[in-house]
């Protein structure tokens, strides 16, 4: 099987996973709207939480994986790692965009403001912009080897930077609700809501993997194409 065939298979499997995840997302909507009680103080606006938090999780997962793959690339110098890191960053930016759109939609009715310079909002915004920068840098470099090395360097730096940004802006903290699942004590969310949230997080993770496989397949195909155009052997 050639590289091209393998990439096509990966992309196809990715689209199957994506379809499954999208069906799961429909299930999450149905469960969140029809089978999960309305939150007492926030009302219906709180429903967006079942999309917002899982999407934010998927975005940060994607960025984290991009950073780790970048580090691995610098050690192992394997083309696949670079292409996978690029795919992860792009999917992360897509999820990040959904996160940045759903957040204000929830914030306006509940907090009374679209945006606030709260620690978590600010650090995710900068993380998002950092990875947009990562994609911009990739777009501006043409040579494969140079592009892979430079973007890996940026990916590793980003991985180290994010905790720093978080600490910095944490000292300005304001409104964002405290974590309700991943925290030292038991989750403070009622079970019905927790199940909806966790289902949605699983669905978003699956969606991330589906998108990632498709994007990765596409990256490999593009790479094969560039190599052929340059007269190389695929």
């Amino acid at each position: 099987m050639t590289r091209r065939d393998r990439a096509l298979v990966t992309a196809r499997r990715g689209s199957v996973l994506t379809v499954i995840a999208l069906l799961g997302l429909v299930g999450v909507y149905v469960r969140a709207l029809a089978f999960t009680p309305v939150e007492r103080t926030q009302g219906l606006a709180q429903k967006i939480f079942y999309v917002h938090a899982p999407v934010a999780w998927a975005a940060l997962l994607a960025f984290g994986i991009c950073g780790l793959l970048s580090l691995l690339y610098l050690v192992l110098r394997d083309r696949k790692l670079d292409l996978l890191a690029a795919a992860s960053a792009e999917v992360g930016v897509a999820f990040g965009l959904v996160m940045l759109i759903t957040g204000p939609l929830w914030g306006k009715p509940v907090w009374g403001t679209w945006w606030t310079w709260d620690a978590r909002l600010t650090s995710t915004l900068f993380t998002f912009l950092l990875f947009v920068g990562y994609l911009v840098l990739r777009g501006a470099l043409t040579d494969f080897e140079v592009r892979a090395r430079f973007s890996a360097v940026l990916g590793v730096m980003a991985l180290v930077l994010v905790p720093f940004i978080h600490v910095t802006v944490y000292w300005f903290r304001t409104l964002h609700p405290d974590p309700v699942v991943l925290k030292p004590e038991a989750p403070s969310l009622p079970n019905v809501m927790l199940v909806t949230l966790l289902t949605s997080m699983a669905v978003c993770t699956l969606l991330y993997v589906g998108f990632l496989m498709q994007r990765y397949g596409l990256e490999v195909l593009r790479d094969v194409h560039e190599e052929e155009a340059a007269g190389g052997i695929s």
């Binding site: 501006a140 940026l154 910095t168």
Partner: protein, 228 residues
């Protein structure tokens, strides 16, 4: 290569860069004039009846240094791009670390001089009588500048290889400046307000941690950028 060799090459690279700059002074004069202009324009960018000079000053100072710094940073590797001078530098068998340290040193001197000249102007323009607090403020400026220049030098070595390096550097660099610049602004207003030292330690340690970590990883990662 021993430690003394490393230092020798580091100073040679920095001296070369500064000598090139000294002969024309174009970048220095532009960065300085730019800094003065930003300080002056920012002075008017507010409602003076509700925002006093004092509240405006720390932010204005650091926006100025950030902008002026970014003008200076691109220069270090743009010099090497002309006539493929970087290839020549590589051929001298100088270690990438020495080249990087030399570039950092050159940038530090360049930016340090711009800052030293614009700091008194800042004190005059914004009428902040802090002559006695000046050593502390200079310390903060030095710490923030080291972090800024470490990351900035590394990123500028990458962006000069792209087509739009002038735009690309700020886009990539500004997220990295959030911790040092925010810390520096916080420290500056506390220093100007004559707060006790105990209120400075938190931000100071954040700034120091940023410097140490990013200086180290920039040094380690630079080889991946320079080596063909």
């Amino acid at each position: 290569m021993g430690a003394s060799d490393l230092l020798r090459v580091t100073f040679a690279v920095a001296r070369k860069d500064l000598q090139v700059e000294w002969r024309t002074k174009t970048a220095f004069v532009s960065a300085l004039v730019f800094a003065v202009l930003v300080l002056a324009v920012l002075y008017f960018a507010r409602d003076k009846t509700s925002v006093g000079d004092f509240d405006m000053a720390p932010g204005a100072l650091w926006v100025t240094f950030t902008f002026a710094g970014m003008l200076g940073l691109n220069r270090a590797f743009l010099l090497e791009r002309e006539n493929r001078a970087l290839d020549g530098l590589r051929l001298t068998a100088a270690s990438p670390s020495a080249i990087f340290l030399g570039k950092i040193l050159g940038n530090l001197v360049f930016l340090g001089v711009v800052e030293l000249v614009s700091l008194p102007l800042f004190i005059l323009f914004y009428d902040v009588p802090i002559w006695r607090q000046l050593p502390l403020l200079i310390g903060v400026v030095a710490l923030a500048t080291i972090g800024f220049v470490s990351v900035g030098t590394l990123l500028s070595a990458m962006v000069v290889r792209t087509r739009f390096s002038e735009v690309m550097l700020p886009v990539l660099l500004l997220p990295f400046l959030v911790p040092p610049i925010v810390s520096a602004v916080q420290l500056t207003w506390r220093i100007l307000a004559l707060r006790p030292l105990s209120e400075l330690t938190g931000w100071l340690s954040l700034l120091a941690a940023f410097d140490i970590i990013f200086f180290t990883i920039s040094l380690l990662l630079f080889e991946a950028i320079l080596v063909e």
